[in-house]
């Protein structure tokens, strides 16, 4: 090896980090600092100057009923979707981990919802939930669960649950996939010992499978929480935040106040709050998962 190649090798580790670090610095870190700074200013996009107003954007947010509606909806949406995705996902993974004819195809088909663009998922469920000729009304009324057709997306009582259903439909396969991978990697010995000891199926699940899957499930929980808190496209197309403000979530509020109403400072304060909320909810879960 000659001297130039040695020195090239010496710096290679840093050179290799340049593209990733510059992208992240320029297009994530810098914008975060910009948002934080902007949140202390009053600025209407296009207006010549920004006025420093301290924390008044935050005070305005905390006095805005739409903020609290969005805040509440974001939390309900995240808790309920993540809860159903985790429980259903694990249950279906246990079912699909058994040996059956066509199991490989079934395990591939179940992943399809993950690949559909969230915008399109919104339209799929617009068609399904339609108050007049939606198939959902048809099935429910012919089974006798509902007496008359319901406008699922036009009724403030049902709009958020409908949105939650669409999200659970799309994201449960991710939990299935991750849980299946975890189940496949389970060791056999504890199960043999448990059968010898005459443990019941529930006991085996509760005291062997669940503890062994703990880390995999925490990883899935972390990722699901992050993604649920990011919901945007699906709300945008399925309900647009309505009827009224019944399905408004923080991301929609942050986006619309900024890029549709051009109250840049106010929008910045909303997105800073979103960032803090995301950290508060995900970091404690993440700490329990070993990635």
């Amino acid at each position: 090896m000659n001297v130039t190649s040695l020195s090239r090798d010496k710096y290679l580790k840093y050179i290799l980090l340049i593209p990733a670090c510059s992208l992240l610095l320029l297009f994530i870190l810098l914008p975060i600092f910009y948002s934080v700074r902007l949140s202390f200013f009053k600025w209407f996009l296009g207006a010549p100057q920004k006025t420093f107003i301290g924390i008044r954007n935050y005070i305005e947010a905390f006095n805005d009923p739409l903020f609290w509606t969005s805040f509440k909806n974001s939390l309900i949406f995240t808790f309920v979707t993540v809860f159903f995705e985790m429980t259903l996902g694990l249950a279906i993974a246990l079912l699909f981990s058994r040996d059956f004819i066509g199991s490989r195809i079934a395990r591939a088909l179940i992943l399809l919802p993950m690949m559909v663009a969230p915008v399109v998922v919104g339209f799929m469920f617009l068609i399904i939930f339609h108050g007049g000729y939606g198939i959902f009304n048809y099935i429910f009324s012919s089974v006798g669960i509902i007496q008359e057709h319901i406008s699922w997306l036009g009724n403030p009582k049902f709009a958020l649950p409908s949105l939650i259903l669409a999200e659970v439909w799309q994201r449960t396969p991710f939990v299935i996939l991750v849980s299946l991978a975890g189940i496949k990697a389970l060791p056999e010995e504890p199960y043999e010992a448990a059968v010898v000891d005459g443990a019941s199926r529930f006991q085996i699940f509760r005291y062997i499978t669940l503890p062994l899957l703990k880390n995999v499930l925490f990883i899935a929980l972390t990722i699901r929480t992050i993604i649920s808190l990011r919901v945007f496209a699906k709300v945008y197309t399925l309900t647009g935040g309505g009827p009224g403000s019944s399905t408004y979530v923080l991301n929609l509020l942050g986006y619309k106040t900024g890029l549709e109403q051009f109250q840049m400072g106010y929008s910045a304060s909303i997105v800073v709050i979103i960032f803090v909320v995301t950290m508060v909810f995900t970091v404690p879960i993440m700490r329990r998962a070993h990635f």
């Binding site: 090896m1 190649s5 090239r8 090798d9 290679l12 580790k13 980090l17 990733a20 670090c21 992240l24 320029l26 297009f27 994530i28 914008p31 975060i32 948002s35 902007l38 279906i92 079912l95 699909f96 059956f100 079934a106 591939a108 088909l109 179940i110 992943l111 919802p113 559909v116 663009a117 969230p118 915008v119 399109v120 919104g122 339209f123 799929m124 617009l126 068609i127 000729y133 048809y138 996939l177 991750v178 991978a181 975890g182 990883i219 899935a220 992050i226 945007f232 496209a233 945008y236 197309t237 991301n251 986006y255 997105v271 979103i274 960032f275 995301t278 950290m279 995900t282 970091v283 990635f291």
Partner: protein
């Protein structure tokens, strides 16, 4: 006699269990496939037949009218090209930067390595909405709003941490000894990386590429503000079908099918890698 009845009852139980297993699998699959099937079938139905309740089967009145109408209402052809360009270049850029960073963090030990790694992966926690306004203003300043470049950069940046993590994981599975052998034979470290490690990491590279391609293809939150009429990607065009005057359901379903089908085709071609990538994307 006792033994016989016991074994027959246990085999009965086994049969019952099998039946329940298949039934359960079929119900689950039906639930998760149905919405996709339903949208595609609405896309092929005539406007009169898709409001029928009980629904009539697609093949009774299959037509391409909705697709024709969708192409008239919206620039879907342009959208297909824009989506393909942005997804190709966005995923390529993300993988390049991610693979390089992943290799550096996995194969070298240096001061600050842990910090840089934690910092790169930590950015995955940042919600896209936090940076979307600043990115819009930044790209506006340099006249890049409305171009595909801004969208490619935004998407590639947000997928760089995932790629760093996935590619780092794949690199760590390749024995260092192979590279060392090449270096004894006179190859530089970079040469060993390009000629030995990279080819061995091809399945991992494919997995990462498939996953990132689909992410960029489906992205909406960056595409909405950063594109204009000429550079709109399919999800943005799709969202335009929801108007104040109502929704042309048939055409929207057709546009939805056009958005989804390329991804499903791509995913089925690379399925072997994709499943691995999805798992690797979540587990290390």
């Amino acid at each position: 006699m006792d033994q016989l009845s016991e074994s027959s009852s246990s085999s009965k139980r086994e049969i019952l269990e099998k039946v329940l297993l298949y039934l359960g699998v079929l119900v689950v699959l039906a639930v998760f496939i149905f919405p996709i099937y339903w949208m595609v079938s609405v896309a092929f139905k005539t406007p009169n037949s898709f409001t029928n309740l009980p629904p009539t089967p697609v093949w009774q009145s299959a037509t391409l009218d909705n697709f024709k109408r969708a192409f008239e209402l919206a620039p879907l052809g342009k959208g297909l090209i824009n989506s393909a360009v942005v997804a190709l270049f966005g995923s390529f850029l993300a993988i390049m930067s991610g693979a390089m960073a992943g290799y550096s963090l996995e194969r070298f030990d240096f001061r600050g390595r842990k910090f840089v790694k934690g910092w790169i992966l930590g950015t995955q926690l940042v919600p896209p909405v936090v940076v979307v306004v600043p990115l819009f203003l930044l790209f506006f300043q340099v006249n890049l709003v409305g171009t595909r470049i801004s969208l490619i950069l935004a998407n590639a940046t947000f997928l760089t941490p995932l790629c760093t993590w996935m590619m780092g994981g794949f690199f760590s599975q390749i024995p260092v000894e192979l590279e060392e052998c090449a270096r004894i034979d006179g190859a530089s470290r970079l040469g060993a990386l390009i000629r030995i490690t990279l080819p061995l990491a091809t399945p991992g590279l494919m997995a990462t590429w498939t996953l990132t391609f689909i992410y960029v293809w489906n992205n909406f939150i960056f595409a909405l503000p950063l594109t204009d009429k000429a550079t709109q990607t399919l999800p943005v065009i799709m969202a335009g079908f929801r108007t104040d005057k109502g929704i042309a359901f048939g055409a929207a379903a057709a546009a939805g099918a056009i958005t989804v089908i390329p991804v499903l085709a791509f995913a089925s071609l690379t399925q072997k890698y994709l499943v691995r990538g999805l798992v690797q994307g979540a587990l290390d």
